[in-house]
């Protein structure tokens, strides 16, 4: 048997939809159905919910979480976690605001006003730096990811507060004389009627899909999360992959920080507080496993939309912000519950199809290939 025509195992295949199977679609598409349900329910409850303008507004909110979630997805796929993204977002916004106010060089006696594209590059560089510190601590100094990124969560937030003395930059518009206008274009403005932030999210998502499905790096990410030892012995540069995913996560957070401060036309040092948790929630609702190796961009985007559309919907129908928090939490728990039901379902299936191996199997393959033929028989009774 050498049928390779359907070579789209875990993750890669799902990114593009692949072939459909009702049961799999229902299970895997639960984030999608949740999103549909949310839209239907809120459309009934509020007449303003179901409108293009509202969807665009909500999408521009989702863009922030979505960007963080995509970076988080890369990290979680390798089996790590990045708690520092919310703080990095805040720090990036403040840093951009700081640059927009002009950088004065006292020795030269001049004030330099960098153009917006330079601000963008420098801010992304800062995000990458935070990520690189995370990655090096985790990959080379063996600091547990949870602890390393928790530390950076505090450090980045603290630096942001120090930079502004706790104040907020409100003047991000720049001025034509100084040649630094255009900051509002990053998130506040619209392109073809769609908020720029949403375009940014779409672009980053496409890059992530390509990176995960069509580059060696993507395969390295999945294999590092699936079994780092086996990956290393197969020649995968596991440590470099680990550093790189945190760098990318940091850059995603910096981009989110730019988009957010452009949307708000202000940059405050406390922006993005607890957003790391929302980002993790998005990834988890999207069906990724926190243990690594499983997950995809499509699910993660759906997860971000579920959270965004839910919380905005609650605002629109006038539910108190306290209740919003409760609802959001409940949805997260429900999502994880479904995850574990799915996994335990697979385990039972596995107990029957494999006696020895205890690690979870590749979902797509398990569900796609019905238990039949001699291989299944062999595996079923392995002694």
């Amino acid at each position: 048997m050498s049928d390779v025509s359907q070579d789209n195992g875990n993750g890669r295949g799902k990114l593009f939809g692949g072939d459909f199977d009702i049961k799999r679609a229902l299970l895997e598409g639960r984030a999608f159905f949740a999103l549909i349900a949310i839209i239907v329910i809120f459309s009934i409850l509020s007449p303003v919910y179901f409108s293009t303008s509202n969807f665009l507004t909500m999408s521009s909110h989702v863009a922030i979480f979505g960007l963080l979630s995509l970076g988080m997805l890369l990290v979680i796929l390798t089996g790590g976690i990045d708690l520092s993204v919310g703080s990095t977002l805040g720090l990036a916004g403040v840093f951009a605001g700081f640059l927009m106010q002009g950088v004065s060089f006292e020795i030269l006696g001049v004030v330099f006003y960098p153009p917006v594209w330079v601000v963008v590059i420098l801010t992304c560089g800062l995000g990458a730096l935070v990520g690189a510190i995370n990655g090096v601590l985790i990959a080379y100094f063996k600091v547990p990811a949870f602890v390393a990124t928790l530390g950076l969560l505090y450090v980045a937030r603290g630096v942001a507060l120090l930079m502004t003395d706790g104040l907020t930059y409100n003047n991000l518009g720049g001025s034509p004389e100084l040649g630094n206008t255009g900051f509002d274009w990053l998130g506040f403005n619209r392109l073809l009627g769609v908020p720029v932030g949403v375009w940014v999210l779409a672009a980053v998502a496409i890059l992530c899909v390509l990176a995960l499905s069509r580059t060696p790096f993507g395969r390295w990410v999945y294999s590092t999360g699936g079994n780092a030892r086996a990956a290393e012995l197969s020649g995968v540069p596991v440590k470099r992959v680990q550093v790189l995913v945190y760098v990318l996560s940091g850059i995603c957070a910096a981009i989110a920080g730019l988009v957010l401060s452009s949307q708000l036309t202000s940059a405050g040092p406390t922006a993005g507080t607890t957003y790391e948790l929302t980002a993790i929630a998005g990834v988890v609702i999207g069906g990724a496993a926190l243990s690594g190796g499983r997950g995809n961009v499509r699910g993660t985007l759906l997860g971000a939309f579920v959270i965004g559309f839910l919380s905005d919907g609650l605002v629109i129908i006038g539910v108190s912000s306290y209740w919003q928090t409760v609802f959001t939490g409940a949805v997260i728990i429900l999502a994880v519950l479904l995850n574990s039901i799915q996994y335990s379902g697979r385990k039972t299936q596995q107990a029957s199809s494999d006696g020895k191996t205890t690690s979870p199997q590749s979902e797509s393959a398990t569900e796609r290939s019905p238990v039949s033929g001699s291989t299944a028989g062999n595996a079923g009774t392995q002694s």
Binding site: D3, G9, N227, G235, A351, S372, T375
Partner: protein, 515 residues
């Protein structure tokens, strides 16, 4: 029933537990088909069979892990039904799985009494637990201190702790699934002594092993399963190794002979004075000044006991772990400073010993596992080419004869032998010149074993591969290897040609010659 008397003398050899017409199906897969199986009082019954023959399924049914689809279990004349392992344990049936179920962070005492702590007035009565544990250990002639953390024990000792735990709940029937697969010969001796001891105390044992010769030395009855059916049954006195193998595979089996009829090339791999320090004991070396040179087309077997340094030697040659001294030359070039990835690129690959831990990515499909080490071969610029990956994967599947539903099948759906072939296929896809294999036959059935050896032998003869494989089964040394190197305590103890005898090899490894 009067037939099942309690008098030990009379009871010896009587059937204590039997499975009658047991069938088990998973969906439309029939793992067991009307199997009859008897366990004899105070004796060892060994279950032989290839991977997938149904051994583990049968044992899981006897120990309450799963329930049969049909048929019944009769314990001392009474039909019984176990809905859980706890229920089976209450009836005196315990199973010791291949992967031990001890908590390594806890000490021996706490492991023995895990879940059944003796509670006194002031909480857990540790004194009493310690006393009982010590007594159990003494009975087993293995005086391990009850307060030793389990992680500090050797694997063989850990197994004895498991046995002690089973005894402490008064198990009368003990099922052992592949207990010796990771033990050294001396540890196996200890285990066998314990088993004989248990027999004399009236404990009945069921034993599963891939080490056929070893199992023959301990068993009283042999049952052979093939494809879910019982194909043969006999008392020990009536059978020999050949009988088992014949019934297991249905034909005579041979692990091959060294390929010949071609000229070997120059030395491809040269290992010079490699020394690897022991991570846990400073100053000690697990590999001590080992030198070895392998020519193109040559197959070298490294034989040694557990802990002889085989794995450490092969891993350090492949680039994992630190060498304290020595160098590794590939085609005369020093590659000691290269990373694993760079060594793979230069044509040196390792098929690791533990395929679950080091060989396979369980979350990825068969195809993705197969192509993992050779991504470069189907990458153009930044992107991978699916078409070319299909080629790599398809070639691998057919080259190493993997039985799979397709490249998209999950790794877990393959049998152990096929999983091993995936690991081998993955490394072969990088077109290596030197292949190191650490215990390539571990935990796979005899048919798959022969196939793996045939692949290696073809690779050496047709492609001029230099092959180094390690083994702890002396029979395997005398199959396809042109040269046999024996390691003992980190050193090279001896070197033999094709005409070596098992006795010579085992003596050189420091193993007691089995009488």
């Amino acid at each position: 029933m009067s037939e099942y008397v309690t008098n030990q003398e009379e009871a010896l050899g009587k059937v204590i537990l039997s499975a009658r017409n047991i069938a088990k199906s998973f969906g439309n897969v029939h793992a067991l088909k009307a199997v009859n199986f008897d366990v004899h009082y105070g004796q060892v019954t060994t279950l032989f069979g290839e991977n997938g023959a149904g051994k583990s399924t049968l044992m899981k049914i006897l120990s309450g892990v799963m329930q049969p689809s049909s048929g019944e279990i009769v314990l001392e004349g009474e039909p019984v039904r176990f809905s859980s392992t706890t229920e089976a344990q209450r009836q005196g049936i315990s199973i010791i799985h291949q992967e031990l179920s001890l908590a390594p962070n806890l000490n021996v005492r706490d492991n023995v009494f895990m879940g059944r702590e003796i509670v006194g007035k002031g909480g857990v009565d540790y004194t009493e637990e310690s006393r009982q544990t010590r007594q159990l250990m003494e009975e087993l002639n293995e005086p391990i201190d009850p307060l030793t953390p389990v992680e500090d024990l050797r694997l063989g000792q850990q197994q004895i702790v498991e046995i002690a735990r089973a005894l402490s709940i008064n198990s009368r029937i003990l099922i052992m699934d592949e207990p010796t697969s990771a033990l050294s010969a001396s540890e196996v001796e200890v285990l066998f002594r314990v088993i004989r001891d248990l027999k004399s105390r009236g404990v009945s044992l069921v034993y599963i092993s891939h080490h056929l010769e070893e199992a023959l030395t301990i068993t009283d009855h042999a049952v052979v399963l093939r494809d879910g059916r019982m194909t043969a049954y006999a008392a020990r006195a009536e059978i020999d190794l050949e009988w088992i193998v014949r019934n297991m595979v249905g034909e005579n089996f041979d692990l091959g002979s060294p390929p010949d009829g071609y000229a070997m090339g120059d030395a491809v791999l040269s290992i010079e004075g490699v020394t690897v320090p022991d991570a846990s004991v400073p100053g000690r070396a697990v590999v001590d000044d080992v030198s070895l040179s392998v020519r193109a087309g040559e197959i070298v077997c490294i034989y040694g006991l557990m802990g002889a340094g085989r794995t450490e030697l092969l891993e350090s040659v492949a680039g994992r772990g630190d060498m304290a001294a020595g160098r590794v030359l590939l085609h005369g070039e020093n590659i000691s400073r290269l990373s694993i990835a760079e060594r793979i690129e230069q044509g040196l690959v390792l098929v690791p010993e533990d395929r679950q831990r080091d060989g396979l990515v369980q979350t990825m499909s068969v195809g993705e596992n197969l192509s993992l080490a050779s991504i470069g071969a189907f990458t153009k610029g930044l992107l991978t080419s699916r078409g070319r990956e299909h080629h790599v994967v398809r070639d691998s599947i057919s080259n190493v004869h993997i039985k799979t539903d397709g490249a998209a099948a999950s790794i877990g759906s393959l049998s152990g032998g096929n999983q091993q072939k995936v690991v081998i296929g993955k490394m072969m896809a990088t077109h290596p010149r030197v292949v190191l294999l650490d215990e390539p036959s571990r935990g796979i059935d005899i048919g798959a074993k022969a196939e793996v050896f045939r692949l290696l032998s073809e690779g050496a003869a047709q492609q001029g591969l230099a092959v180094v494989f390690s083994t702890s089964e002396v029979g395997e040394c005398l199959s396809i290897a042109h040269r046999i190197v024996v390691m003992s305590r980190g050193r090279m103890a001896a070197e033999f040609g094709v005409d070596a005898t098992k006795e010579e090899i085992m003596a050189a490894s420091g193993e007691a010659v089995v009488a």
